[in-house]
């Protein structure tokens, strides 16, 4: 469709910390912010936890929305001047022309998990009528909370396609802008720690025993992380003739193969990456950097490596940040966008924390350590359960 969307302002809160400065420091320092955790059966895994959520205050008028996921969203909205930037755009174009598109996989499900463990539920067998299902657990809760917190009155929706959610949210936002339905869109991804994902990935044998090692021969699964990231996007003209980060292409596809396993020849992933290149009008050699999906599971990494090689992208420097902050699931896309944006600004190519050596059977130009380097054009890959693939093409304009 030929996307041309300017990212006016963005922010990220992850296990690296709150805001762009903390995430830039974590990224360029090459460290892993994962902590060790044991499941109830003693299985040792890694968590990318955001600290300080206990202290986040939710406004009284939104008290029913109070849950870990919305606290994480609020913490990020209150960072890097993001709320103020949105308020300024609302003043300029009107609240009704500012949309909200958020990607999440599990929203505030942890609230319902806890309610099912309560004495009241054991006694009654039902959740009481005053339980805030709509405001906390429902998958739309997150976008509803964000629009109310910001006062945006344009179209609001949650895209929930597992690990590709927030990447697809960027493409949906671009469509809203291109169609004229919105003048600007707050696009983001928010996913927080919960038992459903931890024990769910464990049940599938996809959780790493210890810390995840993306693209390593010894990779054995993911570490789950939490994160919230937001971007204020609109047509470049809305924000004047400014440079900076732009979304110039998006490719989406389905594997049509299996609910959890990627296509062995990465057919769906190749179609998504290929569509992003075509949408942006790029040849493979135009790409300076690939932010890998790079989850650390044996099959996903192999499929992604093969997909890149078959598209002529094996020679492009690439890195996975999932050994650093964990797999943030529905927020993975916005994390990729923010890390690429930070890398472009700082002339730095992010590496692959926690991986000591690339799988020798792979072809990608995997950066183990980050290094100085100019990124003008980059891809962000995300591939989710249900075979949902999305690749974004990002460009830096000076």
């Amino acid at each position: 469709m030929g996307i041309d969307i300017a990212v006016h302002r963005y922010t990220l809160t992850s296990a690296f910390g709150r805001g762009l400065a903390a995430n830039r420091a974590g990224l360029t320092g090459g460290r892993s912010a994962l902590s060790s955790y044991a499941l109830a059966d003693g299985f040792p895994c890694a968590l990318g936890r955001v600290s300080g959520l206990e202290d986040v205050a939710i406004a009284e008028r939104l008290a029913r929305y109070d849950c870990r996921n919305n606290r994480l969203a609020e913490l990020a909205l209150e960072t890097d001047g993001f709320k103020e930037a949105v308020a300024a755009v609302i003043r300029d174009v009107g609240a009704g022309r500012v949309g909200v598109v958020i990607g999440t996989s599990t929203s505030g499900i942890a609230t319902t998990e806890a309610a099912y463990r309560s004495a009241a539920f054991a006694r009654d067998g039902v959740l009481a009528a005053d339980f805030p299902y709509r405001e906390t657990h429902n998958v739309f809760s997150c976008a509803d909370f964000v629009r109310r917190s910001l006062g945006a009155q344009g179209p609001a929706l949650v895209v929930s396609t597992a690990c590709s959610s927030s990447a697809k949210a960027f493409v949906a936002a671009a469509r809203l802008v291109a169609s004229g339905a919105c003048r600007a869109v707050v696009v983001g991804g928010v996913d927080s720690l919960c038992d459903t994902t931890l024990y769910g990935f464990h049940s599938l044998g996809l959780l790493s025993r210890g810390h995840p090692r993306p693209f390593s021969a010894h990779r054995d699964g993911i570490g789950v992380g939490e994160a919230a990231g937001f971007a204020l996007v609109g047509p470049p003209t809305l924000f004047g003739a400014r440079g900076g980060l732009h979304l110039v292409g998006g490719g989406e596809s389905s594997d049509a193969y299996h609910m959890t396993a990627p296509h062995p020849e990465a057919l769906g992933a190749r179609e998504a990456i290929g569509a992003a290149l075509q949408d942006a009008g790029w040849a493979p050699e135009d790409v300076d950097y690939v932010h890998l999906h790079g989850t650390g599971t044996p099959h996903n990494d192999a499929a992604e490596d093969q997909g890149l090689a078959r598209l002529g992208l094996a020679g492009v420097p690439a890195g996975s940040t999932k050994g650093a902050i964990g797999h943030t699931l529905g927020a993975a896309g916005v994390c990729g966008v923010a890390f690429v944006g930070l890398g472009m600004e700082a002339c730095f190519m992010p590496g692959t924390a926690n991986t000591e050596a690339r799988d020798p059977t792979f072809h990608s130009d995997l950066l183990l350590a980050g290094r100085p380097g100019v990124i003008r054009r980059a891809l962000v890959n995300t591939f989710g359960f249900g075979g949902s693939n999305c690749s974004l093409a990002l460009e830096w304009r000076s």
């Binding site: 539920f121 976008a143 109310r148 049940s203 049509a256 989710g384």
Partner: protein
């Protein structure tokens, strides 16, 4: 910017297919609800069909109906799936497993619990590698899905919008009201090809206080209000009656999606 509806499918109480829907919506007072036909699952292996959750069965059923009615193959058709609450039956089972020691979550129930599980089964059943997006806007999910579909459809890129919601299991009936199962699919394409059943033009704008379009019959109006996917009923009525009118779906404390249906006289 004109979009056409090339066909549709429906499954709800007393509405086993588009033909029954046409009968009910051309004579609203005749509709009295009724049982919901079991959804049909085509294209899955025996193993996949056994694992396929109820929500995905509704999606496969109405999606296939709409493709047949439009005369389309699934390949190359982008799908937009919209559901206010996803699959609450699976959620209930997972939360019970997580509340019981020792924790033993079923891997199948876990991967079926993602909001886009139905989209995954759609791809597997049809073999289509076209993009699938799964979204929610709670009770406004139909309007959000319709807007996403209207902005997705492009020359050479037809789009299938599928909306669905099912009543919750017993443990969640106090916190989420969905009165009856309902699923609907619309086949949308750009332009006005011959044989299409309606043309649409649309805009997003401020809510002007006119409220949402409603049904005349109390039984149909109760169905419309009782299930987020059934918020499509005014659009189905316009299609079934060949009625050119402007329909509106307003967000609470927000703007409204207005869609004009156009039929050649």
């Amino acid at each position: 910017m004109t979009v056409s509806i090339a066909g549709f499918g429906v499954l709800g109480p007393g509405l086993p297919d588009a033909e029954a829907c046409r009968r009910a919506l051309t004579a609203e007072e005749s509709y009295q609800g009724g049982a919901v036909r079991a959804p049909l699952v085509e294209g899955l292996s025996a193993n996949e069909a056994r694992r396929c959750p109820t929500t995905a069965r509704y999606v496969l059923d109405v999606g296939r109906q709409a493709l047949r009615s439009a005369g389309w193959e699934a390949a190359g058709v982008t799908t937009v799936l919209s559901s206010g609450s996803g699959d609450l039956e699976i959620l209930d089972k997972n939360c019970r497993a997580l509340a019981t020691a020792p924790i033993a979550l079923s891997p199948t129930l876990f991967h079926n619990s993602v909001h886009n599980a139905a989209g995954g089964y759609w791809g597997i059943a049809t073999g289509s590698r076209a993009a699938t997006t799964s979204l929610s806007a709670y009770d406004d999910s139909f309007a959000a899905g319709l807007l996403e579909a209207l902005t997705t459809v492009a020359p050479g890129r037809p789009c299938l919008l599928i909306a669905y919601d099912l009543p919750p299991p017993a443990a969640l009936t106090q916190v989420r009201k969905v009165s009856a199962p309902f699923a609907v699919a619309f086949a949308l394409s750009m332009g006005a090809p011959a044989g299409s059943c309606a043309r649409l033009s649309w805009e997003w704008g401020p809510a002007t206080g006119e409220g949402a379009s409603r049904m005349v019959s109390p039984v149909l109006e109760a169905l419309r209000l009782g299930n987020p996917a059934a918020r499509c009923l005014p659009l189905l009525r316009a299609l079934c009656n060949g009625r050119s009118e402007t329909l509106s779906w307003a967000y609470p404390e927000g703007g409204a999606l207005r869609v004009a249906t156009l039929f050649d006289a």
